[in-house]
Amino acid sequence: MMTKNIRREDMSRAVIVHAILMTYTLVALYPIFLVIINAFKTRKGIFRDPMGLPNAETFSLEGFTKVLAKSNFEVFFFNSFSVTIITIAVVLLLGAMAAWALSEYKFPGSTWLALYLAIGIMVPIRLGSVSILNLIVDLGLINTLTALVLVYVAQGLPLAIFILTEFMHQIPKDLKEAARCDGVGEFKIFFAIILPLIRPAVATVAVFTMIPIWNDLWFPLILAPGDGKQTITLGIQQFIGQYVTDWNAVLASLSLAIIPIMILYLIFSRQLIRGLTSGAVK
């Protein structure tokens, strides 16, 4: 009798807990869902039945055809993609090198250098925009993707170095000592032994570097707003500004921006959460 009561109590508590979680999940996802289903409808369908799924009568791809015809969506995409990939690669390599030197060797001022490199975790790089623009103009890099990569590398390095330094403290000493006894050089120890070992931290660092870059509007707007150099975020912002009243095109362009990120996120979410919960970031 007693156990039955407890079980019933457990049951009702589980129902309440799941009801709360499902409600919030709905709040988080429904707006995104609403935009995506309406991107696949005719104009009439969008306004007559905004909450309904597209059916035989309302299904239409006219929004997508318009976006692809009237904007350089492929170019925006390619620009964002190359900037993000190159930045992640550079941040990982240079960040790992610096983190290795900071965690492995004790030299005068090493603590100060680590602190200096950590300033950028808290101070937003945007505040230096006036001088960054001057610098990029002086270097002749205005309206180039190189300008974005350089700024994003500087922006991504502090957190990457911090995470990777913490991670490298966990690498067993015996590994390095054994290699040193065999007369392996310091460079080779890093590139052949250490670099392959940090793979678990790579996913965490890559995600934390990627999200702010892919989503950034500020630096593309200031440093590379020219035709053909827009990133996806800026490109969509300009496109929607131009076609505000064309609901099909607006909904389709938003969906084109959302869907790839959602797929990437669903693929990598497990690594991201594992990196967070395993104590790589604290």
Binding site: P31, W100, S269
Partner: protein
Amino acid sequence: MAHSGPMTDWRKAKLPVFAFLAPATIIYSLFMIYPLIDSIRLSFYAAPSGEELAFVGFDNYRTILGDPDWSATFWNSFWNNMKFFAVHMLVQNPIGIALAGILSLPQLKFRNSYRTLMIMPTMLSVVIVGFIWQLILSPVWGVGTDILDIFGLKSLFGPWLGKEGSALITLSFISVWQWVGIPLMLIYAALLAIPDDLVDAAIVDGATHFEVFWHIKLPLVLPTVAMVSILTFVGNFNAFDLIYAVKGALAGPNFSTDIMGTLFYRTFFGYQLQLGNPSLGATVASLMFLIILAGVLFYLFAVQRRLARYQL
């Protein structure tokens, strides 16, 4: 920086140590530290009528804080930014903490799926999020009314984004919707790190899950809550994309959604008939830097130190 045992002697490896550190340090110094310092320097210079830059002391600061028009604009954006921050602290972080607490309940089914789905909006671009909500809240489309109608609240709907009294609060809630994932993720990770025996002992003694959360788990993760708060502060006082995407650089209606980031952009680049002014832009950026610095120092010296003592 805790490190067990002596580290490798750097004198045996001077060249590698230098080669490992130089590239990152140079790029970071050139594109992050130098511009930050140079911006502060520029805030003490001006180029009246397009001449060469000349040192003007605190003139730019006097203009922004002393000139009636400028100071009204500046304080308007500052207080708007404080409201924006207050909504995040009072709504985003409590929701994030509550959801993290529920997700960390023992034997919860579908834990990972809930977590993955609830964090989804955080991964999207701020600009995209702004447009999504602009469409949903648009009286032209009417889907906002339809959704409220399900709950019988149709009459409450209004053009919230377009009204001076409600635009800022509406934008704050849109931002909260997007960023709840950050406190959720960080506090969830901290809750998972609490040893099970601490919690089990309390449960055996007859405490409910809510009591365990309130009296045991939450006090233990307070340092993470403090860290989330300072991250929220820095992020909010650096925000720009959402307001610019939804309301443009003029942050309308009638500057009611103007925050520090949009003020910085307008001052630096100009808008409509007013020309951009890099020196005054650098001054606004330096004032933003001071505000953020004050927040970070408060966190480091007042909050974190007190919490560290509390933990002992």
